[in-house]
């Protein structure tokens, strides 16, 4: 089970998938002191992103990601990778600055391939996301 991505930066990482049907902003949605999505009503409300491979369809907002990704990396609360359907420059600037793997564009759509809890690998050089293990 593989997903081809269009653009990618960072190191090869493996981790547990969190698949969101809602977009993401570290300013609007994330409690940067716990690493948990806290925005009321967000479809991932209550979910920790620490060490996860996070699949988000879109990026929301916001300039804050530039520093915020570095901040959560410093606090050891950062995800291992962001896999975006569509992202914006700030997410990329922030991920590169913090040394977090990031990709944009996907074929096929992750909803058809990956479930939250699956073990996945992101390989930026090969522009590839692979599902290595299924959540039972």
């Amino acid at each position: 089970m593989k997903i081809a991505v269009e653009r990618a930066y960072g190191e090869v990482v493996e981790g547990e998938a969190v698949v969101s049907e809602e977009g993401f902003s570290p300013r609007y949605d994330l409690d940067r002191w716990t690493g948990t999505i806290t925005k009321p009503g967000h479809r991932l409300e209550g979910t920790s992103l620490k060490d996860k491979i996070c699949f988000f369809p879109t990026a929301k907002g916001g300039i804050a990601a530039g520093w915020a990704f570095h901040d959560i990396k410093w606090k050891k609360l950062a995800p291992k990778a962001f896999v975006f359907g569509v992202t914006n420059p700030v997410m990329v600037q922030g991920a590169v600055f913090a040394g977090i793997t990031i990709t944009e564009g996907w074929t096929p759509h992750p909803r058809d391939v990956v479930r939250t809890g699956d073990w996945v690998r992101v390989d930026p050089a090969r522009k590839l996301v692979e599902v290595l293990g299924r959540q039972e």
Binding site: R7, Y28, D31, K39, G61, G62, G66, H70, V86, P89
Partner: protein
């Protein structure tokens, strides 16, 4: 990326370690987006405050400032998380305030002009058509691209600081003609009498098109919009839709006609916004338990004319005992507002005016919410009611006059 001789010299360290690191970082970002080259920028606007940077960001900044780099172009700062005159009264952390002062000192050492404003486009620097700049926050970028016809991507704090040090930015996104064409149209049939109405337009259009590269083309409005109206429209589009540009036919410089704004393409979609759509949006906000003890005019900071309007609406009235009303603006607007009597009118009414901050980025906001028992936040800013969610407020958008009434009566409708 194709590099000039100067850029090769920078990367070789011949201009110092600070520019070398900055350009190396910018090149990685540029390569992600397929940038072919760098373009010179004439102005930079950056976000940098302790709330968003944290201890890790401050440590990084101290190390970086110690390299001795200086801004190559005029560089200003966005709103920050402390108004030092109010931090005790707001219950903010004294230790964090000390860090904020250290952070400001680092920026000034690098020749950053700490204006602490998110309305630089109204008060500090107005780029011209085609001028390349490197700005953040998002409201400043969408205003620069759309209203001035200048060219900027969303530049986060580290990216903007890098642009300040190198005097350039990777050429991708809105620096390129290809991304500046309109992609869909929005006919404005609604009356749009209040600033909040313009924010609702941004919410409706942005929520339905969450893409940085979606460029709406507005048309059909019956009168010429004011700068503050375009500010609230742009801030909401950027907030709800992560959008970096819009056109407004007959108003913005790259949209003399609908056809020109679309760059010869057919719109992917045609939207119409009516008064009923606007009213439906207001009706969609849940009132929770009816808590009406927090009303905020912020996000973006208030312009002089917004301060004048608020002073008029609050004249002779009082914020209801037990409620709080906050207004945020920058130092320049505050000084003029004081001279013109607007500050006296607002403060007599019991309004708290904060300088150089935006409400949603105030340090310690979540504990502040809990300590005051606030559950609802009422504002005329569509941006702030969207952006403040992580602090667990139930947010309610209302028109400006209604917000003033709510602050003074404690009755939430």
């Amino acid at each position: 990326m194709q590099l000039s001789a100067e850029e090769r010299a920078i990367l070789a360290g011949e201009r110092g370690e600070a520019p070398r690191r900055a350009l190396e970082y910018q090149a990685k970002v540029g390569e992600f987006w397929g940038a072919q080259r760098f373009v010179p920028v004439t102005n930079v606007h950056m976000m940098g405050d302790i709330e968003v940077m944290g201890d890790g960001g401050l440590a990084w900044l101290k190390d970086y400032a110690a390299l001795g780099g200086r801004c190559a172009v005029g560089t200003t700062t966005n709103a920050r998380c402390f108004d030092f005159a109010h931090c005790d009264k707001l219950g903010q952390d004294a230790g964090e305030a000390v860090k904020e002062r250290e952070l400001i000192a680092c920026l000034r050492r690098m020749d950053v002009v700490t204006t602490d404003t998110c309305i630089n486009y109204q008060t500090v620097y107005q780029p011209h058509l085609g001028e390349h700049v490197a700005w953040g926050d998002t409201g400043t970028v969408i205003y620069a691209n759309s209203v001035f016809g200048a060219r900027s991507n969303f530049e986060s704090g580290p990216a903007a600081l890098a642009a300040a040090i190198t005097g350039r930015t990777p050429e991708y996104g809105f620096h390129l003609d290809a991304h500046r064409r309109g992609s869909f149209t929005v006919e404005l049939q609604a009356s749009l009498e209040d600033l909040a109405d313009w924010g609702v337009v941004g919410k409706l259009v942005g929520e339905a098109h969450q893409s940085y590269f979606s460029v709406p083309v507005f048309h059909g409005h019956r009168r010429s919009p004011r700068a503050d109206e375009l500010k609230h429209l742009g801030a909401a589009l950027a907030s709800y839709g992560s959008m970096g540009m819009f056109h407004f036919v007959g108003v913005t410089p790259e949209a003399p006609t609908l056809e020109a704004a679309l760059g010869g393409r057919k719109p992917a979609e045609r939207i119409v916004i009516t008064d009923a759509d606007i009213e439906r949006a207001y009706a969609g906000y849940g009132l929770g338990g009816g808590d009406a003890r927090l009303v905020v005019f912020s996000g973006p900071q208030q312009s002089l004319f917004e301060m004048k309007q608020l002073a008029g609406l609050f004249d002779g009235r009082k914020v209801k005992p037990g409620a709080r009303c906050f207004v945020t603006t920058n130092g320049a607007v505050l000084a003029q507002s004081r001279a013109l009597g607007y500050v006296a009118a607002l403060e007599t009414a019991g309004v708290t005016i904060l300088e150089g901050v935006c409400f949603y980025i105030l340090q310690n906001l979540s504990p502040m919410r809990a300590a005051n028992g606030w559950s609802n936040l009422v504002s005329n800013s569509a941006k702030i009611v969207n952006i403040i969610g992580a602090h667990r407020f139930n947010t309610i958008l209302r028109r400006t006059k209604d917000c003033v009434d709510i602050a003074c009566t404690g009755i939430l409708r």
